[in-house]
Symmetry: C2
Subunit: 177 residues, 2 copies
DNA sequence: AGATTATGTCAGTACTATTGACGTAATTTC
DNA sequence: GAAATTACGTCAATAGTACTGACATAATCT
């Protein structure tokens, strides 16, 4: 079991590379960058007994206060059952509160508490520091370019979810009617 | 349980935003971009009964043929036990072969087979297409800039793992001595 | 009144990851 | 040459995140 299986294919000894027209360099960089990018908050979350899923929920509840459960599911692209445990824990620990929807009382609007806002900021801080440092290394005016690249990496039909525009408006969340 | 818990904190109704000096826009974009970036190969992997872990192993075995198990663990930053099942499946399905290390017979050098190389390419193709499309949207000369940004996002002490340099050299993997 | 919608919950499962322990073979150190 | 270390494999137990499918309740819409 240690050596070659005679029935198995022969080992290929040359490295795959960009020559195949495939952009392995950026594929790999993206993996490393995201791995380290998420490792910062992971450390903090561990102290709370939380995981990455809690972070994502906390992030979007803070970014779009008052979003409903259905909207949150749509943004995270996970199922109701996956969200349930995580959301329940965040509510039980007083990071998030639910309010009955004003127009439709079936809906539950999700809001951060002061505690939830503080944690969201604490989690975002090291990530933001990393981004700033990376942009400094790269050059100041490139920020918009990186934003445009990342946005272009998102599935076109899902770009509506992104709040880059509204991130510049302080206060209100997305398209309130 | 539906409405407010009287003991709970009050809901905060204003959105968190970049005004706090935190770069929420890019934090969020990075999440969306990576989510969609990984969704492409996930579809293909499902047909093989594989998951994301298989993809990562396959990627690095193709990028650096002959790397040892210990090196792979170091790159992936996971434990031996997490790797074991995944690697075993890839070997059993003839995507990867193990060869006894020539200098140190305790080591197992990992190589892709033709089958493993083909799958790695198939998985990378949609990701590469996405990157190319995003760079086109952004502007051609920005490729190097995006690379530099992503590289700067990686923990400095781990940049050694990155193969951007050797990606430009065709054929050989990393520092063969 | 009946259908649909929004949410919550239960049961069962899968994948990826963890820690800790132990075994074996090969290499290095003394 | 004996002892320690290293590289790898494996076993057991557990955790976090995700899934599908089913079902219940309350509110809204038709």
């Amino acid at each position: 079991m240690t050596d070659r299986n005679p029935a198995a294919g022969k080992p290929i000894r040359t490295a795959i590379s960009d020559e195949d027209g495939i952009d392995f360099a950026i594929i790999e960089l993206f993996f490393f960058a995201y791995r380290d990018f998420t490792s910062d908050p992971d450390q903090i979350l561990a102290d709370y007994g939380f995981g990455r899923a809690h972070h994502r929920v906390l992030h979007f509840v803070n970014r779009r206060p008052g979003l409903t459960v259905a909207e949150l599911l749509d943004v995270l692209k996970i199922t109701k059952q996956s969200l349930a445990r995580v959301l329940k824990q965040l509510i039980d620990t007083d990071h998030v509160v639910q309010l009955q929807g004003p127009r439709d009382r079936r809906q539950r609007e999700l809001y951060p508490t002061a505690k939830g806002r503080a944690l969201a900021l604490a989690l975002a801080r090291p990530q933001s520091r990393r981004i700033h440092a990376a942009l400094e290394d790269t050059g100041a005016p490139e920020r918009a370019l990186v934003e445009r690249f990342l946005e272009a990496m998102v599935n076109p039909e899902l770009r509506a979810q992104i709040d880059v525009g509204s991130a510049k408006m302080s206060g209100k969340s997305h398209g309130e009617h």
